[in-house]
């Protein structure tokens, strides 16, 4: 049997990405179905993440599957020293697909090697989070009509922001121009700049975040600048308000420009922007449902054609 696990989407071809985007679009057209009736989806959250778990569980429920799992590792025997392998082997007997999140990097990759049950990586430490990347790609595709030749602005914490790193890698083959706007302490790590250089991807690094610097943006991807990330608290005090997107800054921006944010937001996007046609972060989170419905179906061997000819659609 081919293992259809989704651990990373970094090496997927454009065709494969487009296929998954088309599946997500099909899910958006009809997000309530019974196509997974009789299936069991396990959500194993060895590390708590309420948003991601709710999104996956909603996706499974809206497709008619039943959900088992845990939201907190304290409730499981992994705290009693059970190995990840044993837990995965045990759950493989019960579930048709395992959605897992783990604090350790590479956990999902390893899990996919010890079982034939497909694994969906819902985040492994600072490493990968492919369902977040899929929903980001879907949001960009939906709002811009394409993924190629876009001006992508990444703002805030670019050092620890796993979502921006994954997005950078996923978009790198679509001829983007990246703008990295961050304070010195949180700038884009060298390994990702090298990643761009090796692939001939254009990027520009900036410290200033103003109406002028963002005028050419197609996508502004905002992230949270957190106090605990700073070694120098003076530096934090100096820059904490410099990376807030303010309504006045949007005046000269492109009409098609959309603002994305992985949420939760604190104050890095002014609340008055929420009603602006440029704000897209809540819809983006909503797109997570369609992207995850698509991923769950895909690992279970359900094709785009199956979705298009689905007789189980409720609405």
């Amino acid at each position: 049997m081919v293992n259809r696990s989704i651990v990373s989407i970094a090496d997927y071809s454009h065709e494969k990405i487009q296929y998954l985007l088309d599946m997500a679009q099909e899910m958006e057209a009809h997000s309530n179905r019974k196509i997974l009736e009789g299936k069991v989806v396990a959500t194993l959250f060895f590390e708590p993440s309420t948003r991601t778990r709710l999104s996956f569980e909603t996706a499974a429920n809206r497709l008619g599957a039943r959900v088992i799992g845990f939201a907190d590792p304290k409730a499981t025997s992994s705290t009693k020293g059970e190995t990840l392998k044993d837990t995965i082997k045990m759950v493989s007997n019960y579930a048709d697909v395992i959605v897992m999140r783990h604090r350790l990097e590479g956990a999902a990759k390893y899990a996919s090697e010890v079982t034939d049950t497909p694994i969906i990586n819902a985040g492994d430490g600072a490493n990968l989070h492919p369902s977040q990347t899929m929903l980001d790609l879907y949001s960009i595709y939906k709002t811009q009509g394409r993924l190629n030749n876009l001006n992508i602005y990444m703002v805030g914490d670019l050092k620890y922001g796993r979502t921006v790193h994954s997005l950078l890698m996923a978009l790198s083959t679509y001829n983007p121009t990246f703008h990295f706007i961050a304070p010195k302490e949180l700038e884009m790590p060298n390994e990702y700049k090298m990643y761009c250089k090796k692939r001939g991807v254009n990027y520009i690094e900036q410290r200033d975040f103003t109406a002028e610097t963002i005028a050419d943006a197609d996508i502004i991807y905002m992230t949270r600048v957190q106090r605990e990330r700073f070694t120098d608290l003076m530096e934090y005090e100096r820059v904490k308000d410099a990376y807030i997107l303010r309504k006045a800054m949007l005046e000269g921006c492109r009409a098609n420009m959309k603002i994305l944010h992985p949420l939760p937001r604190v104050n890095e996007i002014e609340r008055s922007i929420d009603d602006s046609p440029h704000a897209y972060y809540f819809e983006q989170a909503g797109n997570g449902l369609f992207a995850r419905e698509a991923l769950i179906c895909h690992v279970l061997g359900i094709t785009l054609d199956d979705l298009k000819n689905d007789k189980t659609i409720i609405n």
């Binding site: 783990h102 990097e105 590479g106 990759k109």
Partner: protein, 159 residues
């Protein structure tokens, strides 16, 4: 002249000669191969003259060939070492040891939050740059320098 130098370390009838070991790495190599557990004769020489690298170390192991796994481990410590297979006092084969394309269960991942350091499981790396000695962990994807890596399981010796 040539002959006298060779005789500094006694000649071997059958076995393996590990030549051109950088002097500072000689004892790492000895530990790595667990020479202390060998029962056949083993000869170790250091600070021998070498046309190639100035001073060198050399190890002669009687009646034993190295396994592929041992050769991989050797390559991690000294990428430019040379192996000679001896039969009847003659060199029948010379092998330049080079880094393999992958390293399985040879070294540990440098990333403490990598799954491979937290489960009873294998380690696995792709050698991404043989010239600069770089590898990438199959599990956590972290790119790292091979020479900084710690040996896996039994071989707890810093290169």
């Amino acid at each position: 002249m040539e002959k006298r130098k060779d005789l500094l370390v006694a000649a071997l009838e059958n076995g393996t000669v590990i030549d051109h070991i950088p002097t500072e790495k000689l004892f790492t190599v000895a530990n790595l191969l667990k020479l202390d557990t060998f029962h056949e004769p083993v000869l170790i020489g250091n600070n021998l003259n070498s046309n190639k690298i100035g001073k060198k170390g050399m190890i002669k192991i009687a009646n034993r060939m190295l396994s592929d796994d041992e050769i991989s481990r050797l390559a991690v410590v000294c990428p430019n070492i040379r192996l000679c297979i001896i039969r009847d006092y003659e060199v029948v084969e010379k092998k330049e040891v080079t880094l393999p394309d992958t390293l399985e269960n040879v070294v540990r991942c440098a990333n403490p939050v990598c799954i491979s350091n937290n489960e009873p499981m294998r380690s696995f790396f792709y050698v991404t740059d043989k010239l600069h000695g770089m590898m990438r962990c199959h599990y956590c994807n972290k790119e790292q320098k091979i020479e900084n890596a710690e040996f896996y399981q039994l071989f707890n010796v810093k290169p």
